[in-house]
Amino acid sequence: MTRFLKVACGVSALVLLYAAHAAGNNSSFQLNVANHFPDYCMIGGDPTYSLDTAATVTNSTTSSAKIDFGANFSNTNATGRKMSGSVHFTVYTNAQCNYVLTSAYGALKNITAGQTAVFRDYYADAYDVSGSSTLVHLNSLSSDKIVNQFTIPAPLWWRRSTVTIEFSIPETSNPLAAGEYQDILLLNIYPLI
């Protein structure tokens, strides 16, 4: 019986379990794990929310959610109500990770039929909580607007970071056109190789 276990780099628990299973069958084998862990930047666990105005969070998963302010989006006279909020999530990394936050509409867009080119300004940003941030004013009519991008250096081994997407919607003095307003913030996280 020759048993030779060579671990060239980090081995996952799954690999070890498989090796133990093979040994239990009393068979000879050689396990070569010549791969290495890839660089990864991964979200772990469900996000947490902090919202200052009554809102409904629906379809919340590890990587997506809908924050609906409903009728709280405005006052009774249709002027825009002040709102803010943030979403916090945990990121596990073993590499230098790049974060890019984009806005689908560059503002809150009235997506009700017929209400074209009607927007509500707001501010948003994404940042590592260990750093600081200045919210970016979104008042552009451009789509897929890059709000911010930043890089977190590679750790020696691995790191658990808390990253926040924060937004602030100022009040408005003038009434806003009726309808449903929407923006989609997308934060892409990827290793910088």
Partner: protein
């Protein structure tokens, strides 16, 4: 998973995704409304025997597509305290009314009606709605104008009252 040399080699890269993303959708609703939905304006023509005009303004504040109507109490400038037996042509002066309501993001509603076509209970003038547009805190203008009349009108005050109704278009 692949076997090699009697052993196994794991494609470890397949066990982990290298990148990730978060999508947050932020939404809210604003209900349709029209403020100051009824505006009543007295019209005083002064001496209607001579041609003249008068203007007045009112605010239209609708955050959704809207429609409006205007109606006149008398359908004409009418002599105050006119004798009950007097014929209408002796105590009334017809006029035209021109309404202009600017719309947010450009354009305007522009309508002209005769006073008789907006008489209360018998409104026949066609008023244009705002289409898909809105009018948020827009200053609307109304101008009434009348021609001088050759008939002998009794001296006195000739008045009417116009009322504007603005409602959200359903």
């Amino acid at each position: 998973m692949a076997a090699a040399l009697g052993g196994v080699a794991f494609p470890v890269t397949a066990l982990f995704a290298a990148a990730d993303k978060v999508k947050i959708e932020v939404t809210g609703n604003i209900k349709p409304y029209c403020a100051n939905s009824v505006t009543a304006v007295p019209v005083n023509a002064g001496d209607p025997r001579k041609a003249g005009s008068a203007k007045f303004a009112f605010t239209v504040d609708c955050n959704a597509p809207f429609q409006y109507t205007m109606q006149s109490d008398n359908g004409a400038l009418r002599l105050v305290n006119a004798p009950a037996t007097a014929s209408r042509d002796k105590i009334e002066v017809a006029y035209d009314v021109h309404i202009r309501i600017p719309l947010t993001l450009g354009g305007a509603i522009d309508n002209k009606c005769s006073s008789s076509s907006i008489k209360q209970g018998a409104v026949s003038c066609k008023f244009t709605d705002s289409g898909h547009k809105v009018a948020i805190k827009q200053q609307a203008e109304t101008q009434i104008s009348w021609n001088g009349t050759l008939s002998q009108l009794p001296a006195g005050q000739y008045i009417d009252r116009l009322t504007v109704f603005v409602t959200v278009k359903l």
